[in-house]
């Protein structure tokens, strides 16, 4: 039994790696093309573009994982079926269920792989890629690491135009409204040191106190301000949700929730992270259903075509539902899990006759 497991696993993984290689090379080339447009801006050179494409590879691989599993699985199993190898296995007393378990074993490896990519490789590499790119494009004299951001807590709005490095911000506007919606204080500063204890030390400050009669303006070289954001939270704020690791995401969702901002994109990113390995697994089930659930008279080519289209449609549905969910305010865990359940459901329904 060990030998047959290994054989099936090998065939499955071979096809998977072939498909993901083709797709990753193709999409990396497209990414490279669009990065080449930026070569020549600031200090961004050809080597930086190559580096960016290499560093964003884990994210691309992760995105392509479910679809490659599906196509690879259908091709591998389709070829086994075409060569009458599956028939041979069944004839020698190996049940369909046993073959399926062996395929699922290989699928489990891929699910673990997807999990490792999502949790370890993507956050580290993606952040590195973005930072290096922004730094190179911004030029040598200013080291703008990240773009600015807006944040709000209750009636205080903060705008930071640029984050220079960890804890150093440039061009800051702070708007303090009272509960009636009247602006009470407008603080503008040239730069700020932001500590991990949420204390901001502002430099080059111009402060306007506003009353019903008018406003008075004062200029001070520096002042200390208790804010609601620490340097660590800001670091997370300036990165796209998908590039954060699970602990960072949970921490950040809590911080956003406290500040009264929308957490939906971040909690969706969290659920997507969980959903990606599960979708990969569901795709394995789906290809099983396609090989065993259909009649034997079909050729491999036909089966691959039909299976691929149905699978891709399901995958597209998965992508669409996630974003529709955000627009329609459906809880993120529902939108992230529904497609997995639907794909596995379809697979089980098709498999029920042969199992």
């Amino acid at each position: 039994m060990k030998i047959i497991d290994r054989y099936i696993r090998q065939r499955f993984l071979q096809s998977f790696f072939l498909i993901i290689l083709i797709l990753a090379v193709l999409f990396s080339f497209f990414e490279f093309l669009s990065q080449l447009d930026d070569v020549g801006r600031g200090d961004y050179r050809l080597a930086d573009a190559v580096r960016y494409v290499a560093l964003t590879l884990p994210k691309r691989l992760l995105d392509l994982m479910p679809i490659s599993t599906l196509l690879g699985g259908i091709i591998a199993l389709g070829m086994l079926a075409d060569g009458n190898e599956l028939l041979g296995m069944q004839a020698s007393g190996i049940s369909v269920r046993r073959i399926s378990i062996s395929v699922l074993g290989a699928g489990l490896l891929l699910m673990v792989g997807a999990g490792v990519l999502a949790e370890i490789a993507v956050p580290i590499w993606e952040q590195e890629a973005r930072n290096a790119r922004a730094q190179a494009i911004a030029g040598a004299d200013v080291t703008v690491v990240r773009q600015g951001f807006w944040a709000r807590r209750k009636t205080v709005f903060i705008h930071v135009d640029q984050m220079l490095s960890h804890g150093l911000a440039a061009d800051i506007d702070i708007f303090e409204f009272n509960s009636n919606g009247r602006l009470e204080r407008l603080i503008q500063a040239r730069s700020a040191d932001i500590g991990d204890d949420k204390q901001w030390i502002l430099h080059g400050v111009s402060m306007k106190q506003i009353t019903e009669q008018g406003f008075s303006s004062t200029e001070v070289p520096s002042m200390t301000l208790d804010s609601f954001l620490s340097a660590e939270q800001i670091d997370l704020l300036t990165l796209p949700p998908h590039s954060l690791s699970t602990p960072d995401l949970t921490r950040y969702i809590r911080a956003l929730d406290e500040s009264g901002q929308s957490v939906a994109p971040y909690s969706l990113a969290l659920w997507r992270k969980l959903g990606m390995p599960l979708t990969t697994g569901a795709m394995v089930l789906f290809c099983l259903s396609f090989i065993f659930g259909s009649t034997r008279s079909q050729s491999a080519g036909y089966r691959i075509t039909i299976g691929a289209f149905v699978g891709i449609s399901l995958y597209l549905l998965d992508r669409l539902s996630v974003n529709l969910g955000l627009l329609l305010n459906i809880p993120p865990w529902v939108t992230a899990m529904v497609p997995v359940v639907v794909i596995s459901g379809v697979a089980f329904w098709r498999l029920r006759a042969v199992m």
Partner: protein
């Protein structure tokens, strides 16, 4: 003899249809993921996202079509070798060159279609793409906003935030708007806001209730404060700032230019049909294998060849544009190298690429 040619061409065309559709679908899904994220964060409507994806697919077809042919040739001829059909063809006294001729014809056919894409459809699609995106980013729609999110519109000159938004009722609560204009900073904070269309112009207008308007000059110490019952601002769709992108320029306008970047773009467009013509025979050479070897044994090597060829072409284009390479032979040196390789394969059919020990 016509029967054999047609047979080989049909064998190549069959997988090509499937591969092309799958590549288009997968590429569409991949791109969709990106723009759909934009639809949530930003303001792109579903229809706009759909058109953007279609345009991106049209742009990508310039590369997807030659790749489709390349993979199909490898699969089709790989099967002919695997099932000993090639041996049977040789046994009938038909030279390998004859099979190669069919492959070449397919290459020229696909090359012709690719030329249409690279010379006409791709520039047109880029132009529409930039236009659509610029317009979508300038037009603001309150009903598509989400409470608790900051929206930067009009190239970041205006920032809008609302505590709560009811899209269906077209109604936002506690709305904050900051507008930066040259040296002035305007802030509006209102308890309620609604979007409607101006009867005369048909342009969108934001109407506020019960709020304050502030205007500060960033140079002089001046400012204005107003408390209003109702007020409104026009959301003028400004003329989209159109950076002239060479990618969107028509081929006719590129011809005869002295600008190295334009020359590079023109050479790229002219050379891309050759990728199909050159990749097809290489695919045929790679497909050659003895029976009982795996059908897809040489696929990884084939993908490597593809990656090297295309990435080198892209780098060559960039270098011509930057003046690192002279405009002659320009981007053509990659094509020439590839042509030499094809020539070697045709002249000495026994040479195999990536012979496995």
């Amino acid at each position: 003899m016509m029967i054999l040619d047609r047979y080989i061409q049909r064998e190549i065309a069959k997988p090509a249809v499937v591969i092309c559709t799958i590549l288009v679908f997968v590429f569409g899904c991949y791109i969709a993921a990106r723009y759909l994220e934009d639809a949530v964060e930003g303001q792109l409507s579903g229809m706009v996202v759909f058109f953007l994806i279609v345009l991106r697919i049209l742009i990508a077809l310039e590369v997807l079509l030659p790749m489709t042919l390349y993979l199909s040739v490898i699969i089709a001829l790989g099967r002919l070798y695997g099932d000993s059909e090639m041996m049977a063809i040789s046994a009938c006294g038909i030279a390998t060159g004859r099979v190669m001729r069919s492959v070449f014809l397919m290459g020229i056919l696909v090359g012709g279609v690719t030329a249409c894409f690279s010379l006409h459809i791709r520039p047109w699609a880029w132009e529409r793409f930039y236009e659509l995106k610029a317009r979508a980013l300038v037009n603001f729609d309150l009903t598509r906003m989400q409470g608790g999110n900051f929206y930067e519109i009009e190239n970041g000159d205006r920032v809008i935030f609302a505590d709560r938004v009811d899209g269906q009722a077209n109604y936002a609560r506690k709305i904050f708007i900051q507008t930066r204009q040259d040296r002035e900073l305007q802030i509006i904070f209102a308890q309620e806001a609604r979007q409607r269309r101006d009867e005369k112009t048909g342009r969108p207008v934001l109407e506020f209730k019960d709020g304050y308007f502030y205007e500060f000059s960033t140079v002089k110490n001046q400012g204005r404060i107003m408390h209003f019952g109702t007020s409104m601002i026009r959301m003028e769709p400004r003329d989209p700032r159109r950076d002239f992108k060479i990618k969107a320029a028509t081929t006719a306008s590129l011809a005869g230019s002295e600008d190295p970047e334009k020359i590079a773009e023109l050479q790229w467009r002219l050379s891309s049909p050759f990728s199909a013509v050159l990749l097809a025979p290489i695919g045929a050479a790679l497909a050659r294998s003895s029976p009982r070897r795996g059908k897809y044994a040489k696929m990884p090597a084939a993908v490597v060849v593809f990656a090297i060829y295309y990435n080198l072409s892209a780098v060559a284009k960039k270098w011509v544009g930057q003046g690192v390479l002279t405009t002659f032979p320009g981007v053509w040196w990659v094509q020439i190298m590839m042509a030499v390789l094809v020539g070697a394969i045709l002249w000495r059919p026994r040479i195999t690429i990536f012979r496995k020990a």
